[in-house]
Amino acid sequence: MATVAVMEVKGVGPLTTIQDRGRFGFGRYGVAPSGALDSVAMRIANLLVDNPEEEAVLEITLPGFSASVLADAVIAVTGADLGWRQNDRPIRMWQSHRFHKGDMIAFRELNSGCRAYLSVGGGWELPEIMGSKSTNLSSGFGGLGGRSLQKGDVLWTASPQLFWGAGGRKFDLNAVPAYRGCWQLRVVLGPQDDHFDADAQDLFLNSDYRVSTHSDRTGIRLLGAKISAKEGMAESILSEGVVAGTVQIPGDGQPIILLGETVSGGYRKIATVITADLHLLGQVLPDDHIRFQAVTMREARQALWRLEEMIGRFRDSLS
């Protein structure tokens, strides 16, 4: 197996990082999972190039990223439509393409969504730290030197020629989630829903929230109806573990949806986005609109089965 330099970064958008499934089992040491925010797009991107689903990909936030291809390789892009181009020609997303040495990759304009995922057949040759290649930006480890990609970075992959046969694979565009800018997110109430009275819960579930520009990989901050805890309750609770998707209510009453860069916190959480909808959080843009819909645990589980079935069908269709 030969490891070859496959891509050199020529331009960076606002943020491009290496992310995989995430780093699990280290929350007890205060280490957050990180990982691709849109894990569905990440998994499909890997399947399109014949990688294991959990392999690392580039998470490209908003347009601006460009790179030159240094060796023949199969490459796919899923997730946000950021105007993907091969040698200045737009090419189909959610499909793997054969790139040749000397080709250029670029992302030119924002059409829909927030984050695109770029996979290369063979994966990114990087060390796993605590079982993952994901970049943890706040603590500066994982990925490429614990930082976002910069102009001049060279990325390596193992034996890309072995994946040449995967070129041309397509994912059914009808199965791609719509990134419309108006999101209906399903939540299970809790864990501290009992700290809010019925009126506050109704207000939370019946309000239209706007996404603040102060949103990033750590959380989606919302602007809209102010949610207050029951009379006489302290502003914070004892710090406790959290998962991505929990909706915390800080003192100013403006909800924050936590993403995968946080392990613990001391704000009360009125609801938690269900696992089947977590991937959508990766595609939310500032000024988008969000509404929350409460579902039962059973509905959440069924939604997850359906999502996994959809991915499973695609996986089966490849063999």
């Binding site: 699990f24 089992g25 280290f26 929350g27 007890r28 040491y29 205060g30 280490v31 957050a32 999972p33 730290i129 605590m130 943890n136 706040s138 603590s139 500066g140 480890f141 994982g142 939540v187 299970v188 809790g190 864990p191 501290q192 004892l238 710090s239 406790e240 573990g241 959290v242 998962v243 998707g245 929990t246 946080t262 392990v263 613990s264 916190g265 959480k269 938690t272 986005v273 269900i274 696992t275 645990m297 959440a300 589980r301 997850l304 089965w305 996994e308």
Partner: protein
């Protein structure tokens, strides 16, 4: 050790918070630790992540592998059958600190606030044995208590945008150490050369829930030549 009836709170469809108390209390925290190690020991299928905190254990699980009801039943059963002899003994860890000066910019203010000398603050802080309640919010950050009432101090009115790595701080009755440079509002009284988070090491942090910690003062020269 006996568990009282836990309070279960679902955090979405893939995490369960098991609350064993409602305040900062060493006995409650010991029960959290006991449940945490019991779960590690029994290797319950479908459990992805365990995050112990002051009074609760968060169990992140794969909802396609184990149901919430199955997990709750398993935990109740575990609480009845847990074998304390299989729980590792807490360690006692000594942490060297250079107090005051550039490394402890809030020490003088603290001394004035409590109408004592900086040496008194150092004595109170270093002559106490602390209990590690949890690790979080950043990798390796130990939340420890209790700071003696004589030097209990509120957070700074204005948080610093950057607290250097190794800074030792006080916030109310808690003391902590910043493992990496980060924004922070704790009163900074010193700095330790001990590395509290090393992603390449195993385990990545020297402290865990339940450990006992003693701080001891060192001189700048010792800090500069510190070898782990």
């Amino acid at each position: 050790m006996e568990f009282e009836q836990p309070k279960f709170r679902a955090m979405g469809d893939r995490a369960l918070l098991v609350e064993l108390g409602g305040d900062i209390n060493r006995e409650v925290n010991r029960r959290v630790r006991m449940l945490y190690y019991s779960l590690i020991d029994c290797k319950l299928g479908g459990v992805v992540e365990l995050i112990p905190s002051y009074a609760a254990l968060l169990i992140v699980f794969d909802p396609l592998k184990i149901s919430l009801a199955g997990l709750k039943a398993g935990i109740l059963r575990l609480m009845e059958t847990a074998d304390p002899s299989r729980i590792p003994e807490p360690r006692t860890v000594r942490i060297p600190v250079v107090y005051g000066g550039d490394f402890g910019p809030d020490l003088l203010w603290l001394a004035e606030f409590h109408r004592m000398t900086p040496d008194d603050v150092i004595r109170y802080h270093s002559e106490t044995t602390y209990h590690v309640y949890m690790i979080g919010f950043t990798p390796g950050f130990p939340y420890m208590g209790e700071v003696p009432v004589e030097i209990t101090t509120p957070r700074r009115d204005t948080p610093r945008t950057r607290v250097p790595q190794g800074s030792v701080g006080i916030a109310q009755r808690q003391t902590g150490i910043y493992p990496v440079a980060s924004p922070g509002g704790w009163q900074i009284i010193g700095r330790t050369p001990v590395r509290l988070f090393d992603p390449a090491a195993w385990p990545p942090t020297p402290l865990e829930i339940g450990d006992a910690v003693n701080f001891y003062p060192i001189e700048m020269e010792t800090y500069e030549h510190w070898q782990p």
